[in-house]
């Protein structure tokens, strides 16, 4: 092992698009943090800036650092000598760099270096742990910001978390990561998938290396390998009642599969339980810690927590649908030829309309429910105009995602994969920036004009992009002789 080998490790463990996306997301967070630091003089500004940059570090840990595990598995399987230590050292070196650069930048802008450094370390380690933990933890992790906010407010946590406490958290996260790493590298079947396997492994199929290659995400939705990796009790059981030529929309949903598949009520109940169980568990935990506050729990949920759940939920719904459609429209030996040659599905012109209904309505229905939840909260909480604008924009963009991309995919004009990944990454980052931070620190009132305008401007830019994409796709769809042509 020499210095050159060490420096080259990330180039071999990640793909270039991943590195670019990671760098862009972190840069965006950093620019926002520094701008905040330089334009705001409120007491919490330094901390808010550090948390926003830390959110960027989370993506670094997840997208850039966690994929080192894939290389560690490969090199161990190939019995390459001294590879493990090189990979671990390379990972530590680059993690230190990713943490140091934003910390120095923020310190130069006036923040306390030690605090910033601590928050960046915790952020990166959260991302790494997120990538290395078994996938089953994802369900719980998705609710963690709201949960932390809730606990913070409701349990009357005495003051801000201290630097010492954060280092303790970082140590625990590092320990968990190390254990997960060791377990997976030494596993008898390190490539096997399942809910007890790390999230980062999902990116392996067809992957040249690295995590979050968009193409890999598009191949994982509902294909045979993914279905085989699920335990029997979790598999969806199709309900074929009322399918056939008399009901083309329902039949198309069978053809599209994934979460659009009509399921038996038993199967649907089991899948709902998967979503609801963590929420019930969290409520139970809160109740156990402080039974007295439980009746007031729903009243106490902060506006920003609801905004975050609605925004994050809508975005996940859109992304799930887009990934599924991308995957279906990229395979030439699967559903497309089947649907293209299936007789009596409907008239050639009508089939486009039915396809749009089958693919968009389930997503839009659940997004409408989330919007209803948001609107109800707006009334109850009497949110400020600024918060309202940011929340509304996040929802509008999340809702616009699905039709825009669906038109583009069906019309044969999907954007480049890195563009899709970038847009999705920026959107998630904005949802997090606008709401998650405020749910923990209650900072919504401290948004300065520049910050608010910046976030709103980026939302509008995304919306304009989606409208352009959708119109281009719509024209393509009109020009296509039938929609079941692979891209």
């Amino acid at each position: 092992m020499n210095a050159a080998t060490l420096v080259m490790v990330p180039l071999r463990a990640t793909v270039s698009s991943t590195r670019w996306i990671t760098m862009l997301v972190l840069s965006l967070m950093l620019v926002i943090s520094v701008a905040l630091q330089l334009t705001q003089t409120l007491p919490k500004t330094a901390l808010i800036g550090a948390v926003i940059a830390g959110y960027g570090e989370f993506f670094v840990g997840l997208l850039f650092v966690a994929p080192f595990l894939l290389m560690a598995i490969d090199t161990r399987q190939l019995r390459i000598p001294r590879s493990q230590s090189t990979i671990v050292l390379g990972m530590m070196l680059y993690s230190a760099l990713w943490i140091a650069v934003p910390s120095i930048a923020l310190a130069l802008a006036g923040a306390d270096f030690v605090t910033v450094l601590t928050i960046q370390t915790v952020g990166l380690l959260f991302g790494l742990t997120f990538g290395l933990l078994p996938r089953v933890f994802l369900i719980v992790a998705g609710f963690s910001p709201s949960f932390l906010g809730l606990v913070h407010i409701q349990l009357h946590y005495p003051g801000k978390p201290t630097v010492l406490l954060l280092w303790l958290v970082a140590s625990v996260l590092a320990l968990i990561s190390a254990l997960c790493w060791r377990r997976q590298v030494r596993s008898i079947d390190p490539y096997g998938e399942g809910f007890n396997k790390p999230l980062v492994l999902r990116s392996r199929t067809g992957n040249r290396t690295g995590f979050m290659n968009w193409n890999d995400w598009t191949t994982m939705s509902g294909n045979s390998r993914q279905i085989r990796s699920q335990p029997q009790w979790m598999l969806a059981i199709a309900n074929l009642r009322d399918t056939g030529p008399q009901n083309p929309v329902r039949s198309l949903r069978v053809g599209l599969g994934g979460w659009m598949l009509p399921k038996t009520w038993q199967s649907a109940s089991r899948q709902w339980m998967l979503v609801l169980a963590p929420i019930i568990l969290m409520m139970g935990l809160v109740y156990l810690r402080a039974p007295g506050i439980t009746p007031a729990l729903f009243h106490a949920i902060a506006f920003s927590a609801v905004v975050w759940i609605a925004g994050f939920g809508s975005m996940v719904l859109s992304l799930t649908t887009i990934v599924l459609l991308q995957q279906r429209w990229s395979r030439t030996n699967a559903e497309l030829p089947f649907l293209a040659l299936l007789p009596r599905l409907s008239d050639r012109r009508e089939v486009k309309k039915y396809l749009l209904r089958a693919s968009l309505l389930p997503t839009l229905f659940w997004q409408a429910l989330l919007i209803a939840l948001l609107v109800a909260t707006l009334f109850v909480k009497q949110a400020s105009a600024l918060d309202l604008a940011i929340a509304a924009l996040a929802e509008i963009v999340a809702v616009a995602f699905t039709p825009a991309f669906a038109f583009a995919i069906f019309g044969g004009r999907p954007p480049a994969q890195w563009v899709t990944g970038l847009v999705a990454g920026v959107s998630f980052a904005l949802v997090g920036c606008g709401t998650a931070a405020s749910s923990i620190l209650d900072i919504s009132r401290t948004y300065g004009a520049i910050m608010a305008v910046s976030i709103i401007a980026i939302w509008f830019a995304l919306l304009a992009f989606l409208i352009g994409l959708g119109l281009r796709g719509w024209r393509g769809l009109q020009a296509r002789p039938h929609p079941f042509l692979a891209n």
Binding site: G222, N223, S224, R225, I227, R228, L235, A236, A238, L240, T243, G244, P245, S251, V254, G255, G257, G258, L261, R331, T332, N333, A334, E335, L336, P337, F338, A340, L341, L342, P343, R344, L345, R348, R480, P481, H482, F484, L485, A486
Partner: protein
């Protein structure tokens, strides 16, 4: 069952148009040509084997002929209709099995066949059920959990149970064991012979062609290099070997031409309209070697 096929076939009297026609099909992927102006017509009731090396364009040609991709130029017709705008009636007359089929992995084999059967007016559910049993495929198993060979067999059942007049199979035997392959070929021969089903199938396995195809088309670098009856190949094509000293007399028209290390020349030549080999074959030292289908394929594809 054959009686059912015949009855159905007689009931559905269609104009005797070619089931599949390709006219000047051209397509390319990321700058490299997959099809270079392919013309191909398949006569009703014939069994055409499409053979070619990996990447020769077989799957692309099949997909373009069925309207599953929009070619850069050229047109394709299925039973006289533009392939990209097929009517329900035409769709119900055709069945296609892609290479390594992977559709509807979330359904069980039984569910898939039940679901698909609802769309085909002549669906033979008894055939589907009995063949599932005969081929020992568990009906309640998810398609995702079947082996590639089982998956291919389920898709073949799906295709055959719809009683198509045109059956298009892309490498149908690739994942099958020898017994299943033999059974499939027997079924194809039966369908073609007794029900008059037109079959187009691509393959690498030359012995499959010899067993079941009535015609063969060689696809090489996106072009149909030759097409003839399987039984005619030995008569029509041969290898002409010319020693170095008379290699200059080699005919300009040949299917392939290879210079050997000793300077001699090997060419694949065809008989002319009068049934004669090229003149060079009569020169002293020249030699004509009869070729089997596999040798012919290798000589052309190399």
């Amino acid at each position: 069952m054959n009686a059912v096929f015949n009855a159905v076939h007689m009931e559905t009297t269609h104009e005797p148009v070619s089931p599949l026609v390709a006219q000047g099909l051209a397509h390319c992927y990321e700058g490299s040509n997959a099809l270079n102006g392919v013309d191909l017509t398949i006569a009703p009731g014939s069994v055409l084997g499409l053979i070619g090396r990996n990447g020769a364009g077989k799957s692309t040609l099949i997909r373009a002929m069925l309207g599953l991709l929009q070619p850069i130029s050229g047109t394709a017709f299925v039973f006289g209709e533009p392939a990209l705008k097929l009517s329900d009636d035409t769709k119900s007359r055709i069945a296609y099995v892609p290479q390594q089929p992977d559709a509807l992995a979330w359904l069980t084999a039984q569910q898939m066949l039940d679901f698909v059967g609802r769309f085909y007016p002549r669906w033979d559910s008894a055939f589907a059920k009995s063949t599932l049993e005969r081929w020992k495929i568990q009906p309640n198993r998810l398609l995702a959990k079947l082996s590639p060979g089982e998956r291919q067999r389920v898709d073949l059942i799906r295709a055959l149970a719809s009683q198509p007049e045109l059956l298009v199979l892309d490498e149908p035997a690739a994942a099958l064991d020898p017994v299943a392959r033999r059974e499939l070929l027997r079924e194809l021969a039966l369908r073609a012979g007794e029900a008059g089903t037109t079959v187009l199938f691509s393959t690498h396995i030359v012995s499959d062609l010899e067993r079941v195809a009535s015609e063969v088309a060689f696809l090489h670098e996106g072009k149909i290099l030759l097409r003839c009856g399987v039984d005619d190949t030995k008569e029509r094509y041969a290898r002409l070997w010319l020693p170095a000293k008379i290699s200059a007399a080699a005919p300009s028209q040949s299917l392939s031409r290879r210079r050997n290390e000793d300077g001699s020349l090997s060419l694949i030549v065809a008989r002319d309209a009068n049934g004669q080999w090229p003149e060079a074959s009569t020169l002293p030292g020249a030699r004509i070697d009869a070729l089997g289908l596999e040798d012919l394929f290798v000589e052309i594809a190399e």
